[in-house]
């Protein structure tokens, strides 16, 4: 099973860049995940002002909103993609993160066999061969 761990730092954008100590602690944690054979991928994300948002209305029309944003409460600061044997194991790994004033949301990744057969067939037909 794969899990995404999304980190939501509870900080202002001006404080986005972490200290050397925080980076060091986080690197140790990442190393531990790697040594356990669980880590598949990870990235730290630049603040929202470096990106943008594309919204879609009911008719599927896209609207691009460029950063910076006035109210940004739920902002992802980075993610890990890990392999774990259960949700509990993923949660246990997440709770070992040396985080401060942040939240980590743990979400299981869809695997092909989680989809009903008609969805699998659609994937095969449209992207296959």
């Amino acid at each position: 099973m794969r899990f995404m761990m999304f980190m939501y730092p509870e900080i202002e954008e001006k404080d986005w860049n972490p200290s050397a100590e925080a980076v060091e602690a986080m690197s140790r944690y990442n190393e531990e995940l790697r040594k356990a054979g669980m880590l598949l991928g990870l990235d730290g994300l630049q603040p929202p002002s470096e990106g943008g948002v594309v919204g879609f209305d009911g008719a599927g029309k896209a609207t691009v909103t460029d950063g910076p944003f006035a109210e940004a409460k739920e902002v992802v600061g980075g993610y890990w993609l890990i392999q774990a044997r259960s949700k509990e194991e993923a949660l246990e790994w997440a709770s070992r993160c040396p985080g401060e004033r942040c939240r980590i949301e743990v979400r299981r990744v869809f695997e092909m066999e989680d989809f009903p057969e008609d969805v699998q067939a659609a994937v095969e037909e449209n992207f296959g061969g």
Binding site: K35, G37, G41, L81, R85, E88, E89
Partner: protein, 417 residues
Amino acid sequence: MSEATRAIEAVWRIESARLIAGLARMVRDVGLAEDLAQDALVAALEKWPAAGVPENPGAWLMATAKNRAIDRMRREKTYERKREEIARDTGVLFAMERSDFEAAADDEIGDDLLALIFTCCHPLLSREARVALTLRLLGGLTTAEIARAFLASEATTAQRLVRAKRALREAKVPFEVPRGAELDERLPSVLEVIYLIFNEGYAASGGEEWVRRDLCEEALRLGRVLAELAPGQPEAHGLIALLEIQASRLNARRGAGGEPVLLLDQDRGRWDPLLIVRGLRALERAEELPGPMGPYGLQAAIAACHARALRAEETDWVRIAALYDVLAQVQPSAVVELNRAVAVGMVFGPEAGLAVLDEIAEEKALAGYHLLPSVRGDLLARMGRDEEAADEFKRAADLASNQRERELLLRRAEGDG
């Protein structure tokens, strides 16, 4: 199972290998180390649901296991005992008092883990025993889970584990990482165990799908752990490269009816690009290290040729044929020759491929293997020898165990597809 129990089980899966490895270093017996670790787990199941999981669960489990060990020995001392046993236990107690799990350096823990891997994969044990013991002590799987994975009864699996631990104890196998020439000699056994676990999950035969996927993932995890612990060993990187690339095809290797889909017919859009990238990176690490490539590295390099081709027609067959030539020298086998025949047929034409096949036509190892006549039929068909090709496809169909595959081969025998 309650939420608390599931959380404890998760901690156990994360900590048990390190715990058993650390204890084995002290008591010099993996069987006893496992018993002590189990004692600590039982204590955790009693205490944690009410008190909560401690801040550092690994250290808590280790401290508890050490106390249990000391209790056990004191209790046993009330019986009359052989002198050498007492001497041994005194040494163990001394070692325990000195060792401090929390203060243990990272490489020390790594060394213990590596020693545990080598002990579980010791050549004096049968293959089945090595695989079961590795899953149990390094993967933290229960006996029931191992039994289910290998379609064996729980009693048989339990017996196998007990016997394996006893065999290690009786042979007084030292708990250590082999060095120098001995390391070179024993590494293949470790690699083989991880490869067998992966293949058990990957093979298309029987078993529940999720059990098989779990086995593949566990083998990948063990392979990654090994590559981190033994970064100077090219074959450790070669093996994990091979496994990552093979695992990238998990979603593409079966058709809608469950029939196996051959590599060249697979929908490459369903290959997992993340695992491919990881596999290619591991292969690079294997190639950067000094020394010639071993069998796993070579197989990974071949798998990488397929992985790099966005479409089957773009496959670099020249390189694959060259790699099979080397592999045939490093690890000669009939199956390697069969694959080499395919590659040679792609590069130099079907006649050349057929010449390779003729050499192995009588191989006992391939008797009853449907892919031999199937490949032969394919080469003959390309040469326009349709009647002979049809005979080969019929022969292959008789040997194929999968119904869908059989139908496919029979269609080819009729000149279709």
